[in-house]
Each structure stands twice: as C-alpha cells, then as structure tokens.
Symmetry: C2
Subunit: 149 residues, 2 copies
DNA sequence: CCTTCAATGTTGGTGCGACCAACAATAGAG
DNA sequence: CTCTATTGTTGGTCGCACCAACATTGAAGG
C-alpha cells in the first residue's frame, strides 16, 4: 500500500467502517458467485425460507427474510419466471398468495448453497477456525441486540 | 420474535449474512445521523482525508477513501457548493485539481465525528469493551487480507 | 523529437439492496 | 356492521459501488 493510498484514521478506527468495508468485499464475492447462477441475494433468501419453512405468503417471506414486501413481489415474479417457485392464490384467503418451492428451485438453492460456502472461505480467508467462530459469535450477539430492539 | 419471523438457518449461520445484516443497521444509524447534518458517507470520507493528509487531487482522494473517482467528482461538487471544500487547478499540472478543506469544512467534519462516535456506541450497544476490541481486531485482520490481495 | 502509455477529471450510465407512500381488496375484531 | 389491520401491488427514492468512454495532459522510451 503506497503512501498515497493511506486510509484516514478516522475511518479505520471505527467499527462501522470496518463492518461496511468488509461487507463491500462480502457482497462482491456473493454477487459475483450468484451472478454466475443467474441469481441475486433476494432470490437466495426467499428460496431458503421456502425450503426451511415450507410454502408461505409473500408477507411472511418478507418478514422472515428481512425483505420489504414490495421487493418480495419482484423477487417472486422472477423466481416464478425461472420456474424456481410457484405462486397460487390462498383458497382460505381472498387476497393472500401461497408461494411454494419447485423441484427446480430446490436444485437452484443447493447450487447457491455451494457458491456461498465457497464465499465464506474466501471471505474469512486466513482466519483460523477458532477466531472465525469468535467473530461469528460476536457478530451474532450484536445483531441480535438490534433485531429485538 | 414470533414464529412467523424466524430467519432461515442457511442465512443466520453464514458470516456473510451476519456481516451484511449488521451493516444494514450500521448504515441506517450512520445515514440518519449524517442526514441531520445534511451530509452523506462520501462527504465524511473525503473531509477526513483532506483533514488528515492535507490538500489532494481527486484521484488521490478516491484511492484513500475507497471511492471511485467518478463519484469523487460529485461529492467534491457538493462539498464545494456547501463551502466545505474548494477545488483549484494544480498550477504544476494542467488537468489535475487540488482540493482543500475550508474552515467551515473542518467544523462540519467535527460535527460528523460526534455523530459517528454516538453511532458506534449505539451499534455495539451492550457489547463489553473487551469483546468490542476483539471484534474490531478481527474485523481489521480480515479486512486487511482483502485490501492487499 | 515524436510516439506511446498512463493518469486525470468528467459524463453518463448500471446494479443491488433498503426503504417509503399509496391504493384496492380482504379479513378479523369490536 | 363498522373500524382496523393485513396483503399484494405499483411506482417511486436514496446510497453505495462500479463501469465504459472520452478529451486532456504528463511522463517515459525509442
């Protein structure tokens, strides 16, 4: 790193800077990997929720995946076009839809799982397993604080 | 957290999810704070670099702040309009500009410093000092790996 | 000297993720 | 039966990161 590339201390000192900058790298790795599978982050989140909790309404998907329900609309549209999910009206409820995973969607999910596993290793690179676990634990703790409050 | 809001394990297990989600909270806190000062993240980065390293070309600012040079143009335009920075042509170099901080810009920087200090506390909330230091250390280590490679 | 290469500022885009307001249709509570 | 909450949907906004292209200029090498 040349002298011209020194980062201001005001930035490097701050946890929020470290977080956001590391997330830049994380997101680049993830989106590159997903792009090769023709997908985006929202797709993975929704496929994962469908797989783990079964068919659900779009509102529930949004809550579980931390995605705004208006964005769920677009994502489910795309997943449906790609044949990874199907949207059917809820018979017991006029307005609500039931979204469910297709076989093909399950395969796509597993493809994306593999991509993500690789990304985690690239991201945490040379960090020993023990410290990696510590990092994950601390991040989870802090995140939990914000999820409830 | 109700049963309908359970987050898929595929997500919560992954470091990249924890990072990106925590960064969502961090960025919300930061941008709220900055918005009250009529500023954005790019402004702070550039003001910080100007303060710590003195007047610089836009290209140097971009490298130091991890901002694309095309985005530096817009940010410096805004900072100049607000009277926080001034752009003058480099006498020794036809095309290059020299951007420097104004008195008013220094004050704005200090205002934003205070905002950010508050944000760090809100962000890391109940995390004890020791673990906060551990988190910062680990994040810094991982980030450094990506900055060189 | 002249040519080639690299750097600079600038314009004008793109993509993703996170959000917000509003609306019609429907369900559920009182 | 009325009021309120929920759902799906449309159509935006914003910030950050990034890219391609271009003219201008400086620096380096033959």
């Amino acid at each position: 790193m040349s002298a011209m590339d020194e980062i201001p201390r005001r930035l490097t000192e701050k946890p929020s800077w470290l977080l956001t900058q590391l997330t830049v790298h994380a997101r680049r790795l993830v989106s590159q990997g997903f792009a090769e599978a023709g997908a985006r982050g929202y797709h993975y989140r929704i496929l994962a929720a469908l797989d783990e909790f079964g068919p659900a309404s779009q509102a529930d998907l949004g809550r579980r995946c931390r995605v705004d329900r208006s964005d769920v609309v677009a994502a489910v549209n795309q997943l449906a076009e790609l044949g990874y999910a199907e949207r059917t009206p809820d018979p017991d409820h006029g307005r609500r839809n039931i979204v469910h995973l297709t076989k093909s969607g399950g395969r796509q999910l597993r493809r994306m799982d593999k991509v993500l596993d690789g990304v985690q290793d690239e991201l945490l690179g040379a960090l020993p397993a023990e410290e990696r676990a510590t990092l994950v634990r601390l991040l989870g703790r802090v995140l939990a604080e914000h999820e409830v409050g």
